[in-house]
């Protein structure tokens, strides 16, 4: 082999390593299906962080109004209708007949004696909000009644948006759900919370610091947030509508489009609010995933159906064109041959594998990795089981489906991500098939996907005769490692 070719091959491999390293420098995975998956030291690796549904899920609600005019002005939406709306938002999820979810309003907020916040109190200031959330630092022990102390899951009404202002959040923030406490051994969520910005319901829209949403838009936004509260991640279906909207192209949302757009789509409002359009609030994808995460067992209680009687599973792995190398971060869609725009469920390949698995070789003690002694400890969440790379499972109602793949939209990053690869990368190839996959209740159908037109694997040109130069690296523990492999 010529020296030039050797140099080219070496450069190619170094470049590939650099690209691979770059791609691994990503935050923890917030994937389609589950929001967060357990990893080393954070729950059970590869298992979604979820509530213990056998114990029921309870939340507690602020005693103040949901919305009032600016500067503590007149009440626009009082506490009772606010609570009714919150209960209805949660009920959208608990009403899914195949989801083993019992979600209950346990009453008013618990007292935080250390901060003199009374039982059943009205959160009106940033200090009170932070008291209810509890001390987040690992050094301090949070109040046991607080959210971070695992004592309660608060739903807070910031009636005039003043808490958002005090926290330095811009006026376009409608609200957010937040994680509080979970068991690092079982991966079970113990407490979570949400805060709703009532300024979006005060009847004022000045187009600069006070915006307005319709009741249905506001309710849908927080039903989405409560999906996160329950441990559900984002889903991408009917993306073409978002792309048309972003590209300024005309489009309409048919009833099927609106119904098929998941509540857990990262962007709300591409189609009209579901309640406004008169379609079910929980889409087929949402119902499938909440049921997959919280399945009703074989002996369902009254009013519920077992997951296995109502769903089957399409499972497989997405591969490069070589049919061997698995691909992370590809969105896979199963569309029913009957009403494909409405009846569709999606998953992201490798959604249980860590976005950044880290590199223990760079740790001073690889068997005891810590952030202080490792150059790249990786994400606390997500499995390191290599068999999960490129793997997917899609829960679907029985029927016939066509399978397609697509890239995750490049703008779905950070809090709007739905892939272990955040920032998402374009799918390295395409897949199209007119073949149908038949799914039966309780059955599992395997469907592996080999993408067409992908680049070759990075070592596809590697020759057994190539010996990579040994490059010594000075590492913190003064040991020397070598990039490349020695070949005799």
């Amino acid at each position: 082999m010529s020296q030039t070719l050797r140099c080219a091959l070496f450069a190619k491999q170094i470049l590939t390593l650099c690209v691979a390293f770059f791609l691994m420098q990503v935050p923890p995975s917030f994937c389609g299906g589950p929001l967060t998956v357990g990893g080393p030291g954070a729950g059970i690796p590869g298992v979604a962080l979820l509530w213990d549904s056998s114990k029921g899920i309870t939340y507690r609600v602020d005693a103040g109004p949901l919305s009032r005019k600016p500067n503590s002005g007149a009440i626009v939406i009082d506490n009772a209708p606010g609570i009714t709306r919150v209960n209805a938002m949660f009920a959208n999820w608990s009403a899914v007949s195949t989801a083993n979810l019992t979600i209950a309003n346990a009453g008013g907020l618990l007292a935080i004696p250390s901060d003199s916040f009374p039982a059943g109190g009205d959160v009106q200031t940033a200090q009170q909000f932070l008291s209810v959330v509890g001390d987040p630092s690992v050094q301090a022990l949070p109040d046991p009644n607080s959210c971070n102390g695992g004592g309660q899951s608060p739903i807070v009404f910031d009636a005039d948006g003043s808490i958002f202002d005090a926290l330095g959040l811009p006026p376009e923030v409608i609200g957010f759900a937040f994680a509080c406490d979970y068991s690092t051994t079982t991966g079970k969520i113990i407490s979570a919370g949400a805060i709703l910005n009532g300024r979006f319901q005060d009847g004022i829209n000045d187009n600069s610091s006070n915006f307005e949403l319709t009741t249905n838009e506001f309710n849908q936004a927080f039903t989405h947030e409560f999906g996160h509260f329950l441990g559900l991640g984002h889903s991408q279906i009917n993306l073409d509508l978002l792309l048309k909207a972003e590209n300024g192209q005309p489009y309409t949302c048919s009833a099927d489009d609106t119904a098929g757009m998941p509540l857990m789509f990262p962007i709300l409002g591409i189609c009209p609010a579901k309640a406004t359009a008169g379609v079910p609030v929980v889409a087929v994808d949402d119902a499938a995933w909440i049921s997959k995460l919280y399945p009703v067992g074989p002996s369902p209680p009254a009013g519920k159906s077992s997951f296995s009687s109502a769903y089957g599973t399409i499972t497989g792995t997405v591969f490069f064109s070589d049919g061997m190398t698995p691909v992370q971060g590809v969105n896979i869609l199963a569309r029913s041959t009957n009403s494909p725009r409405r009846n569709a469920v999606s998953a992201v390949s490798g959604d249980r594998f860590a976005g950044n698995p880290g590199n223990p070789r760079t740790c001073a003690d690889p068997n005891n990795p810590t952030p202080d002694t490792c150059g790249n400890i990786g994400d606390p969440f997500g499995s390191r089981d290599a068999s999960l790379i490129g793997h997917f499972e899609i829960p679907v109602p029985p029927g016939s489906y066509t399978i397609s793949t697509e890239s995750v939209f490049e703008g779905f990053t950070g809090g709007s991500s739905l892939t272990p690869l955040d920032t998402p990368i374009p799918s390295p190839g395409t897949f199209s098939s007119t073949a149908t996959v038949n799914v039966t209740a309780g059955g599992t159908t395997t469907f592996n996907i080999t993408l067409q037109g992908t680049p070759n694997r990075f070592d596809a040109f590697e020759s057994a005769s190539v010996k990579l130069p040994d490059v010594p690296l000075a590492l913190p523990n003064r040991e020397r490692y070598f990039i490349g492999r020695r070949r005799s």
Binding site: P28, G134, D135, P136, F176, C180, N207, E246, G411, G415
Partner: protein, 216 residues
């Protein structure tokens, strides 16, 4: 200033001269505001004009330090303290460094320090600090642009929503600076594409918008 719904309506309806009876239905559908979920917050979308208008400071620079610290007054709040070595100030007071304090509520954000790290090259459009000295990028992730080198070696910028919708409803402002921008950026305007934007073009637009706001 955000265009009024009537203006947006007219702009959108321009695209649909032949739709006839479906026009009102179409326009009523697309007028529903998209709502972005960013960094655990559900947030209304902002275009560049709105981001600039809402900002108190717009700086370009490199992050030199990031730390998680307790808030001095709000004892149960952790905040990420970010210091940027300023390369250019596009809005607000000139200074060699810019430090801001952003509230962190979610434990996962705490672990990731809101995604900031030393060495990051950013263009930040930051809102005015609150009474507690806390602030965030305008539009949360939308006002935070990561700067990197493009394939042509030139600097480019992309925000937390891949610049999607960044030029929505900005026809008049874009006309005024069209000749100063690269063909690719003009194409992004015309086709409302998402994706990285030439940094110099982004700054040209910000300067123009900033001047508009300060002119009598």
């Amino acid at each position: 200033m955000r265009p009024s719904p009537a203006v947006i309506f007219l702009r959108l309806c321009r695209f649909l001269p032949r739709v006839g009876a479906l026009l009102p239905l179409f326009c009523s559908l697309v007028l529903v505001c998209p709502v972005y979920s960013q960094s655990n917050a559900v947030t209304l979308p902002r275009n560049l004009e709105q981001l600039v208008s809402e900002s108190d400071s717009i700086v370009q620079g490199r992050v030199t330090s990031v730390s998680l610290e307790p808030h001095p007054q709000l004892s149960k709040l952790l905040m990420v303290v970010v210091t940027v070595q300023v390369e250019e100030t596009l809005k607000g007071q000139n200074a060699s460094t810019y430090t801001f304090h952003q509230a962190v509520i979610d434990k996962r954000d705490q672990q990731q320090k809101m995604g900031y790290h030393a060495g990051q090259h950013l263009l930040l459009a930051m809102i005015r600090p609150s009474a507690y000295g806390l602030n965030s990028p305008a539009g949360v992730q939308q006002g935070r642009f990561e700067i990197s080198s493009g394939p042509d070696g030139k600097a480019r910028a992309i925000n937390g929503f891949a610049n999607a919708g960044l030029f929505r409803g900005m026809d008049s402002q874009l006309k005024a600076v069209r000749s100063q921008l690269s063909p690719k950026t003009v194409e992004m305007f015309d086709q409302q594409k998402s994706g990285p934007l030439a940094l110099e073009d982004l700054k040209t637009l910000i300067r123009t918008l900033t001047l508009e706001k300060t002119s009598p």
